[in-house]
């Protein structure tokens, strides 16, 4: 009797999975433990393990299709066995060609770990993502913390325990749920960037003891993909950098006015919200930046889907504010807050972090004056936003105190030349220094 293998539920939020590719073809002999296919879920790309010996008799789900959890993928049985008549997979929705190469369009995505080096035996979670990624090693977690983690949809393998022997306790789960812990150097790009609020280091000034524990930490799925994508970007894309300093005074003043007026409505706009809006508007004025290099053609994008980098535990992700050119600052603010929170909770669906046409990375709230970001392919540019610094500026031949913010645009020279990049930054400067334009 042939065994029908269904789409497994590989994460707590998974309802459908994309069959990325088959690793075996019909007729191949398979053994229990062999990997049959790669499946992309909302969180990761994982391998589909076979639990039977025999041969792969029939494939029901073509590569590239999206299959509901529980729907049949393939049949494994004795060679020559008659394959049962299984209906076609539920709603086999062939994905659009644009999305067929998620690696090419995703901003940062979780995917399969690159092959581990032999010295570091790493076993990937295959069929049961709730199992820790180092099988055989139990997670130490209190009963209450375990229950809370399940309720809040938090993966305990990603929570650092503060209890005795590293036990995860309630406080750790609550902190993870609120995004308060995670990496100690957590950046929140959705947070406001008050010019007066000096960056406060999170680590104690008087910390003692060893720097950290000697250990070999296996590369997580996310770190793996970040490493792979950024090496690709930096080696394949001819980056060049343009830098401009803008007067942030009017923007900070406008933000202050709006936040004071709207405080009772619970509205709090961040500097970053205005920057996202300004980028969308600048892309409207200089659409040549809103393009992607595709080898033999340059794809022009009709909409400004502006993504922004959010630091999360063990990495970062770039959720996308779609059609930012059509949205108000308020709408962008609401959406960005929601995306950032879900990013920290690891609740983003692929749709939330793919398809961006331009990216913003803001380290202003971390006290960074200026920096150069690595382009997030297939975008043609990324904007790096520094902190706002009070410094002397010459205005009407007088030295006065200015509020200066540094913007650095990293640009793909295959798509955008220096003059075009300069036009973009000039448009951006105009918008940020006359921020009322962002409100009309």
């Amino acid at each position: 009797m042939a065994q029908i293998i269904d789409m497994p539920k590989l994460s707590d939020t998974m309802t459908v999975g994309t069959l990325v590719k088959w690793l075996k073809k019909e007729g191949d002999a398979v053994k229990s433990g062999a990997m049959l296919a790669e499946i992309e879920t909302d969180k990761a790309t994982m391998e589909l393990e076979c639990f039977f010996d025999g041969s792969l008799l029939k494939i029901y789900a073509p590569a590239g299709s999206q299959i509901a959890v529980g729907a049949p993928l393939c049949a494994v049985g004795k060679s020559g066995e008659i394959v049962p008549d299984v209906p076609a997979p539920v709603a086999p929705k062939p994905v659009l060609k644009d999305d067929a190469k998620p690696v090419a369009t995703a901003s940062i995505e979780y995917a399969k770990l690159p092959a581990p080096s032999p010295a570091v035996p790493v076993v990937l979670p295959v069929a049961h993502p709730e199992v820790p990624s180092t099988p055989g090693q139990r997670i130490k977690i209190s009963p209450l913390a375990k229950k809370l983690a399940a309720e809040k949809g938090i993966d305990p393998t990603r929570v650092e325990g503060s209890g005795p022997g590293g036990r995860i306790v309630r406080a750790d789960v609550l902190a993870a749920a609120s995004g308060a812990t995670a990496p100690k150097s957590q950046i929140s790009n959705s947070k406001s960037q008050a010019s007066s609020g000096a960056f406060v280091p999170t680590a104690s000034l008087l910390a003692k003891g060893p720097v950290q524990e000697d250990q070999l930490v296996p590369v997580s799925n996310m770190r793996g993909i970040i490493a792979k994508r950024l090496v690709e970007s930096k080696t394949q894309i001819p980056h060049f950098y343009l830098e401009i300093e803008v007067d942030a005074g009017p923007l900070l003043e406008l933000r202050q006015q709006l936040n004071t007026a709207l405080e009772k409505d619970g509205v709090k706009l961040s500097v970053n919200d205005f920057i996202l809006k300004a980028c969308a508007e600048a892309l409207r004025r200089v659409p040549a930046v809103n393009c992607s290099w595709e080898g033999t053609a340059v794809r022009h994008h009709s909409a400004a889907h502006v993504s922004f980098a959010v630091a999360i535990e063990d990495g970062l992700i770039t959720p996308v504010v779609r059609d930012a050119h059509l949205k108000t600052v308020f709408a962008i603010s609401t959406e960005a807050k929601n995306l950032a929170k879900r990013a920290k909770d690891k609740k983003l669906a692929p749709n939330d972090f793919t398809g961006g046409t331009f990216c913003v990375s803001n380290l202003g709230m971390m006290g960074i004056d200026r920096f150069s970001a690595i382009i997030n392919p297939p975008n043609a540019a990324i904007l790096a936003v520094g902190t706002t610094v009070k410094k002397p500026v010459v205005k009407n031949d007088q030295i006065v105190v200015g509020q200066r913010m540094s913007l650095t645009l990293s640009t793909d020279h295959r798509v955008v030349d220096g003059a075009v990049g300069a036009q973009f930054l000039a448009a951006l400067k105009l918008l940020l220094e006359g921020p009322a334009l962002l409100l009309i």
């Binding site: 209190s142 009963p143 209450l144 229950k147 005795p164 036990r167 306790v169 309630r170």
Partner: protein, 325 residues
């Protein structure tokens, strides 16, 4: 509200019940003419006469057995053990006879006896005089076991114990006899089997009873002041029947538990509590249940060492911090 000693509170309970019910009698070694070895029964002979306040020979097996027999015939004896440590001499009378009679008579015979006296260490009286047998007693279906920590509780619980139709073991404490507390004038009862939250808190539940309640409350204050930790102190008051509901409610609030008991650790009241808490509130626990007991040895004769053998505020603070880790 009047402030009286734990000793006086017990005496008031006895006097009120002697007044209320002519079937109530007080018997024991030195309870009458000598006014009680610890002066608990002081003045009762003068007030109620030798028919009600009866000195007995120095034979626990004899006079406890007599009390059990009397109770079967409708008398409500309150028997004083000079030390609960001597209960073992009357083990058969208390735990074989009194505990089983109602069951074995098919409910025809009640044994409304109260056996009371001090059961504690910490007074440099040696290993044979320092037993705390509440766990041994509570192991026997058919008896009730009460260990009051305050004057208020002692009075209200003793009056309920005297009115109860089953054998009630009432374990007092010689060190607490002189402790003063507010006790209202007039009659009040505290039902058996009802724990009391002596201090509200949110970080840790200390489940305790008897003199350890006093240590725990002192420790809770120190933990608040010096460590900013909020401790809830649940006083069981009655060991059996055990008010596990109040304990579980507190555990559901704080998620961490320390049991403090003046008990040897092996098969103690805390052992039973630990089982019940983990069984009923597993998913509420944010750490293992911790326990602070008397250190497992016969009562140590050296006073400074005995003090460290028993629970005390500094040991409770240390154990609480471990439970909070």
């Amino acid at each position: 509200m009047p402030v009286i000693t734990y000793r006086e509170a017990i005496r008031h309970a006895l006097a009120e019940e002697l007044e209320r019910d002519p079937n109530v009698v007080v018997m024991g070694e030195e309870v009458a003419q000598f006014n009680g070895a610890y002066k608990v029964t002081e003045g009762l002979l003068a007030k109620f006469g030798p028919q009600r306040i009866v000195d007995t020979p120095i034979s626990e097996a004899g006079f406890i057995g007599m009390g059990v027999g009397a109770s079967m015939l409708g008398v409500r004896p309150v028997m004083e053990l000079m030390f609960w440590s001597f209960y073992s001499v009357a083990f058969d009378q208390i735990l074989n006879n009194a505990a089983n009679l109602r069951y074995m008579s098919g409910g025809q015979i009640n044994v409304p006896i109260v056996i009371r006296g001090p059961a504690n260490g910490g007074t440099n009286v040696g290993a044979t005089h320092s037993h705390t047998p509440e766990n041994v007693l509570a192991n026997h279906p058919g008896v009730k076991v009460v260990v009051p920590a305050t004057a208020y509780d002692a009075k209200g619980l003793l009056k309920s114990a005297i009115r109860d139709n089953d054998p009630v073991m009432f374990l007092e404490n010689t060190i607490l006899y002189g402790d003063k507390g507010e006790v209202p004038e007039g009659e009040y009862l505290i039902p058996l089997g009802k724990a009391d939250v002596k201090r509200e808190g949110s970080d840790l539940t200390i489940v305790t009873y008897g003199r350890s309640v006093i240590h725990s409350l002192k420790a809770a204050e120190l933990l608040q002041q010096e460590h900013n930790r909020s401790i809830e102190v649940v006083d069981l008051r009655t060991i059996r029947p055990l008010d596990i509901d109040t304990v579980l409610k507190s555990v559901a609030k704080t998620h961490r538990v320390l049991i403090v008991e003046e008990q040897k650790p092996f098969a103690s009241v805390g052992s039973q509590l630990t089982y019940m808490i983990q069984r009923e509130a597993f998913d509420e626990l944010d750490g293992p249940i911790h326990r602070l007991t008397t250190i497992d040895s016969p009562a140590i004769y050296s006073p400074p060492v005995e003090n460290e053998q028993l629970p005390n505020p500094s040991r409770v603070v240390k154990a609480a911090l471990e439970a909070l880790a």
